[in-house]
């Protein structure tokens, strides 16, 4: 194994290989961050909808989750990238005005956003449902409207309860950005493969990528553990009564 391959210049002259990989990493992190924000907001809304007492809301929420859970991620990427513009002329027109890279980035964020939101919705729902029924009753008994009850009583505790599974979702999201390779986005995995193909030093390239993903995973883990400690409620052992 020879590490100076990373310092070698890329044939097109855009910099050294390590810089290529770094630029790939930037796209990975950018897509992951934007997708996470979208997924968290959407997922919370859908998760809450599934715990309300309104039948049609629950049904819509369930349908939403089932839709995104039962289709493989790569197929969802193809749906957003090819099928949606193919079916809706307005979208196709808009897409052609975009820079190809921007098209890929937007597709990746939207696709991963919806995909991950379904999983977050599942976590939020189970978090709220694991709270004792009495909490909801107590909130209503003191005169809070359902909206206020969710905002001040149910969600604050539910979010704390689901920090561990949310940590897994963050890690899954980062790993799933690699699938954007399928639509040509030059994120980290794409660059790794490219480096392997052009220098034939697959081992070094993949080893570097592996190391980067592991470090990201560890960092995400540490960050979530820190958040969990910061928001811990004094005296609360965890779990419902």
């Amino acid at each position: 194994m020879n590490l100076d391959i990373f310092l070698q210049q890329v044939p097109d002259g855009d910099g050294a290989w390590w810089q290529m990989l770094a630029s790939g990493l930037q796209w990975t992190l950018l897509v992951a961050l934007c997708a996470w924000i979208m997924a968290f907001v959407l997922g919370s809304l859908v998760g809450v909808a599934r715990t309300t007492e309104t039948r049609w809301l629950t049904r819509c929420g369930n349908a939403y989750v089932e839709l995104f859970r039962n289709i493989p991620l790569i197929v969802q990427f193809f749906l957003w990238y090819f099928v949606v513009p193919g079916l809706f002329p307005a979208v196709k027109v808009w897409v052609t005005t975009l820079d190809p890279t921007h098209h890929q980035v937007v597709t990746a964020i939207v696709c991963l956003g919806f995909f991950t939101s379904a999983r977050i919705a599942e976590q939020v729902r189970s978090g709220i449902q694991s709270l004792a029924r009495g909490q909801r009753n107590a909130a209503y008994a003191v005169g809070l409207t359902p909206l206020q009850a969710y905002r001040h009583v149910l969600l604050p505790m539910a979010y704390r309860l689901i920090i561990p599974p949310l940590t897994s979702e963050v890690m899954n999201l980062i790993k799933n950005t690699a699938v954007a390779y399928s639509i040509g986005l030059t994120e980290l995995f794409f660059r790794t493969r490219e480096m392997g193909e052009m220098t034939f030093r697959y081992f070094e390239a993949f080893a570097a990528a592996t190391l980067v993903y592991v470090v990201i995973a560890l960092t995400a883990n540490r960050l979530m553990a820190w958040i969990e400690r910061r928001v811990a409620v004094p005296g609360y052992i965890g779990g419902s009564r």
């Binding site: 909490q135 009753n137 008994a141 003191v142 005169g143 409620v233």
Partner: protein, 242 residues
């Protein structure tokens, strides 16, 4: 004040409440007792609309609980409820538990809410614990805070759903003392409980339920001295013998 009129409730095909009727007048303390599964918890939860009912109606201070137009959150703000499992909000401090609804529902200023909360904490003897979290308090302390939380809304009536059933024996009295005080101050109270000592002390009337029905509804002395039904007699003998 509280009028329960022919309430029936089914869970699917299972009937939980069967034509229950009774009333609680202003300033009255009514104790609801009965074996477990008799529907007493369900009935009291119907009074503030936490449980929907299938037939009949309940009115509180003239407002119908079952009517579609009724603004339930507003009505509930005027009725205080204390739960068997205390149900304090674990992520908020004791003081925040007391002020949350005052600010969000009644629209009081934070200062007014804090003042009220402080006064009530003093009344239940827990001023020192204002900044603690529910998880750091004992059961008896939590329940007293729960009572204060309900009182902070200046309710016209208080509902108690087995307030001492989840407490260790040595803490039951501290909670009952607060409730006795409340009763003596003239609060309208409907209390589901097994604590017959409390009933004897401050109740005006006793309602006995069994199998989803109100079997007896009598003035306190009458109920204890000469229970009319066999079931009530059996229940009393079991409860009072220990």
């Amino acid at each position: 004040m509280i009028v329960i009129d022919n309430i029936s409730k089914w869970y699917g095909s299972f009937q939980v409440l069967n034509n229950c009727s009774t009333r609680v007048s202003k300033g009255e303390v009514v104790v609801v007792c009965g074996p477990s599964g008799s529907g007493k918890s369900t009935l009291i939860k119907c009074v503030n609309g936490l449980e929907p009912f299938t037939r009949g109606d309940i009115t509180v201070d003239g407002v119908s609980v079952g009517a579609r137009e009724t603004n339930l959150p507003q009505l509930r703000a005027r009725i205080g409820m204390v739960f068997q499992n205390f149900e304090l909000f674990p992520h908020l401090s004791v003081m925040e538990n007391l002020t949350l609804a005052q600010i969000r529902v009644l629209g009081r200023t934070p200062e007014a809410a804090l003042a009220k909360g402080g006064a009530l904490l003093e009344r239940v003897g827990l001023t020192a614990h204002a900044q603690k979290f529910p998880g750091q308090l004992s059961g008896g302390q939590q329940q007293r805070v729960a009572i204060a939380r309900a009182l902070a809304m200046d309710p016209i009536a208080m509902l108690f759903d087995e307030p001492t059933s989840a407490l260790d024996p040595e803490m039951i009295n501290e909670v009952l003392d607060v409730m006795v005080d409340l009763a003596r101050d003239g609060m309208t109270m409907m209390v589901v409980t097994h604590e017959m000592g409390f009933a004897r002390k401050v109740a005006h009337r006793v309602v006995f339920m069994d199998g989803g029905e109100i079997v007896e509804d009598a003035a306190k002395e009458e109920f204890f001295a000469t229970p009319r039904s066999e079931r009530a007699r059996q229940f009393l003998s079991k409860i009072l013998s220990h």
